[in-house]
């Protein structure tokens, strides 16, 4: 198994338990001490992360899940390679986290969020459950490359999983547009561009009926 796949497997499991700085610290630790070693050295790595509460408490479960993923014949369940974010974290450290948290939003960003929630909901509701699942996976895979904050990614992932009320996410207009576009591309890949255009147009019409500014998201 190559280094990238191992890194993706470790990240896939760890990101379910730890977030933000702790996640990147743990990934950094894995890269520095364990990445070059065999997959069964993971226990040592997890022991070295005992300072991180979530890992210490779930060490057995994390270990078991990592082994399952590392032994899996394919890598379909793995999240995208986090290398870029790891490098970014190494370069910028805490400052990047602080930056994303203290990011200022324009009144337009805030006003567009309800329209975004409606539009995203309409897009997801417009397709069958199997397509919904494919879209969900696609969106989750793409979220890393969209440079969204960890809290936003987590909130969106949870909403996609459970649905219900849309969480109050700190999104700016650009990110909302990118997310809608990601869903559109997912629709294109799943159903073809013709249906994707039809679904997007129908969803946009519904969203615009409720929120006049929904057009800004397209």
């Amino acid at each position: 198994m190559d280094l990238t796949t191992r890194r993706r497997a470790v990240f896939t499991v760890l990101s379910d338990y730890v977030h933000d700085d702790s996640l990147w610290q743990a990934m950094g630790q894995w890269e520095a001490s364990c990445s070059a070693q065999g997959q069964f050295e993971l226990n040592k790595f997890l022991a070295s992360c005992s300072g991180i509460d979530a890992i210490a408490k779930n060490r057995t479960a994390i270990y078991r899940q990592m082994i399952v993923l590392l032994m899996a014949p394919d890598n379909q369940r793995l999240k995208p390679d986090p290398l870029r974010e790891m490098e970014q974290y190494k370069k910028q450290g805490f400052s990047s986290v602080k930056l994303s948290r203290s990011q200022s939003f324009t009144p337009q960003d805030v006003q567009c969020r309800p329209a975004f929630a409606v539009l995203l909901g309409e897009l997801m509701d417009a397709v069958r459950s199997d397509t919904q699942q494919r879209l969900q996976r696609y969106l989750q895979d793409q979220m890393l490359s969209l440079q969204l904050g960890q809290d936003v990614r987590r909130g969106l992932a949870e909403w996609l999983e459970i649905r219900g009320a849309f969480p109050p996410l700190a999104l700016d207009l650009l990110s909302m547009r990118k997310l809608i576009n990601t869903v559109y591309i997912g629709l294109c890949e799943s159903l073809g561009p013709v249906q994707a255009d039809q679904i997007l147009n129908a969803a946009a019409a519904k969203a615009m009926a409720q929120h006049a500014n929904a057009g800004l998201l397209l």
Partner: protein, 429 residues
């Protein structure tokens, strides 16, 4: 071989014979300018056909590319293209003078205008194949190099030497009367390189390899575009005599019959397959017929013109299936129509040469021409598009693909009343 070379030089003779101010010269000029106007009108045909075959959200963008191809291409061809193509050709590979033609004789002006229309045609073939996902700026940059460099160089091989010397393909007897290869295949090979560098439109091919049809938004425009191209082709082929003589009748008859046979070729294939006969394919079939007869329209009997066109039509269906199998996304079918039918037409021009059918030597010469043009144009345009993609950008962003290039590239909509959606910001577009 002497006879063939003389035939190939038919193109050049009027320039020498009709440079004086006689009624005959005036008549030739009038005919050539009429033909130039018809070839110019082909741009409208291309624009309608390509725009009709694209989605409504990209209609303006396709129109703009065709429009700017003429504007930009004409200026570039006048600046450098004409000199490279028709200037003194001592090596056989390129012309070396007559750039920035300013102080010129009346006949030269007529000839330059006619050839400028041809150059614009070659470049505009790419726009249809690459529609719906190409950045406007990157497209125009590449289009400028095609009109100013790639097309004139190939042209100089087959038609060069008007102002001295001779192209190397012309010297071995290569026949391409009005440009099945020189114009149409060149455009198609550039388009092939373009779509390889670009990649397919989002979702065009599924992960399992299924081809997803993306219907055009206006088939009436497609049909009208087809008719206009057909009409323009009478100028394209008929004007290539460069003089008003009795040969024009046969040339135009061959042109017309071949177009009809191309459409029927498509129809027959679909009937035999028990499938629907599509308008888009039928129009493409007739255009393939026109492309296929372009090389040999002056040297073929009508029966062989019909055969040429018919096979051209069949190549549209086969070529489209071939490209789909390779997961290459040619929006309007430009590569089968202009490339595959162009190759066939060039070969047929040698094979069906009137009074000397199936001459092996001539067929070998035609094959050399076809092969050498592909071997130059395809790698050169592949490099051109790759460099354009690297340094300027070629593939439109997926957000632009979603919104449609009309809004993102031009801040306009083709059909504002019927297109819901995003707000146009003219400053940010």
């Amino acid at each position: 071989m002497k006879k063939i070379t003389a035939a190939a030089l038919l193109l050049l003779s009027p320039l020498i014979c009709y440079a004086d101010n006689t009624p005959e010269s005036a008549m030739n000029t009038v005919w050539l300018m009429t033909a130039a106007a018809l070839v110019f009108f082909m741009q409208a045909g291309f624009a309608l056909l390509e725009s009709g075959m694209s989605r409504a959200k990209n209609a303006v963008n396709v129109m703009m590319k065709n429009y700017l191809d003429v504007c930009l291409g004409s200026l570039i061809f006048w600046l450098v293209g004409y000199g490279l193509m028709f200037g003194n050709n001592t090596t056989g590979f390129f012309g070396s003078d007559h750039f920035f033609m300013d102080d010129i004789q009346p006949w030269d002006a007529a000839f330059i205008l006619f050839q400028t229309m041809f150059a614009a045609t070659a470049a505009t073939i790419c726009s249809g194949a690459m529609a719906e996902r190409t950045q406007f700026r990157g497209y125009l940059i590449a289009s400028g190099f095609i009109t100013g460099l790639i097309y004139p160089l190939v042209g100089s091989w087959a038609w060069g030497g008007v102002h001295g010397g001779q192209g190397w393909l012309a010297s071995i007897g290569f026949i391409d009367f009005a440009g099945s290869s020189v114009v149409h295949s060149v455009g198609a090979w550039c388009a092939l390189a373009g779509i390889i560098v670009l990649g397919a439109r989002s979702g065009r091919f599924s992960e399992r390899g299924e081809v997803r049809e993306i219907p055009g938004h206006n088939l009436t425009m497609v049909a009208l575009g087809g008719f206009i191209l057909w009409l323009g082709w009478f100028g394209f082929n008929g004007g290539s005599t460069l003089k008003a003589d009795e040969n024009i009748g046969l040339i135009l008859l061959n042109t017309h019959l071949s177009a009809c046979a191309g459409a029927l070729g498509v129809m027959l294939w679909r009937v035999l397959q028990n499938k629907a006969i599509l308008l888009t394919e039928t129009v493409n079939g007739s255009i393939a017929g026109l492309v296929a007869i372009t090389a040999g329209c002056a040297s073929m009997d009508p029966l062989f013109a019909i055969i040429s066109g018919f096979v051209g039509g069949l190549l549209v269906i086969a070529g489209t299936a071939f490209l789909n199998a390779l997961r290459l996304d040619d929006v309007v079918g430009a590569i089968p129509v202009h490339g595959f039918a162009g190759v066939w037409g060039t070969f047929a021009a040698g094979m069906f040469y009137s009074g000397d059918l199936f001459n092996t030597e001539r067929m070998v010469v035609q094959s050399i021409g076809i092969f050498s043009i592909f071997m130059f144009v395809f790698p050169a345009s592949l490099l051109l598009y790759w460099l354009t993609a690297k340094f300027s950008g070629l593939r439109a962003d997926t957000q632009h693909e979603q919104r449609g290039l009309d809004v993102t590239e031009h801040a306009e909509r083709g059909y504002p009343e019927f297109q819901p959606g995003s707000v146009i910001d003219r400053r940010a577009a």
